[in-house]
Symmetry: C2
Subunit: 145 residues, 2 copies
């Protein structure tokens, strides 16, 4: 949750990889951290643009991939055809409840489920690196209609 730590992480990552720290990358990261959960490249592009209209589409895409590679963001697919990115704080990640009616997304975590996942994986000889759990259904509001 500490934004300046995340920024430092990213800068270190760039140095290690022999990449450069640029104004654009900083701006994109700032905007990415400003709030938005589940931002698509398009979303982020729009936001960044409103501060600095000279930033290109491709740069946003490229930078987002760097975030993922660096580990400060994770890619998600919710089935609407757009890849969405979510900022991660190292030891924290969450699963999602997605309303098939209104599209609302609720995050949750459940240690018990995680533990069972490890168990299942181990039974098949796998070592888990990450997981994706999406529950699709109807939220309370949409159960009326």
């Amino acid at each position: 949750m500490d934004k300046s730590k995340i920024k430092d992480d990213f800068r270190s990552f760039l140095v290690e990889k022999g990449l450069k720290s640029t104004r654009q990358r900083e701006e994109i990261l700032d905007e990415f951290l400003r709030d938005g959960a589940h931002l698509s490249a398009e979303d982020l592009y729009m936001r960044v643009r409103s501060n600095n209209p000279r930033i290109g589409y491709a740069t946003v895409y490229r930078t987002l991939k760097l975030f993922a590679e660096c580990g400060i963001a994770e890619q998600r697919q919710f089935g609407d055809g757009q890849t969405r990115y979510e900022s991660t704080t190292v030891d924290e990640h969450h699963d999602h409840l997605i309303c098939t009616c209104c599209g609302k997304i609720v995050e949750f975590e459940d240690p018990e489920i995680e533990h069972l996942q490890e168990k299942v994986a181990a039974a098949h000889g796998f070592i888990i690196e990450r997981h994706r759990l999406n529950l699709f259904g109807r939220c309370r509001d949409c159960q009326a209609s």
Copy 2:
């Protein structure tokens, strides 16, 4: 698992919807049921083509969507940019272990996990319609490298 029952299901579905049973749909369904777990439209197109090169791309896409609508197939995204379809037997569905190294996909089911999912969803006021659980990691063979 009873292929002729699945075919009958699909035929009934077509009748109910006022749609027509065609040679192409039969051929595509036959090929779809022949084996392939996790077929992409492209995969299936290739296979169908090897029997009948006159079948079009669009027809395969359209038919696959019908399968999904009918409930004899489910769509899956494994993050490689292609939608994959998996044949379903009504009450049976599975989650996946995906090796990030060799791409191997292992299916599993765990009633305990499912139960916990229901619980979590209920706690947030959701009624689950379906879920997707993917565990990414390294399979036994790839843990060496």
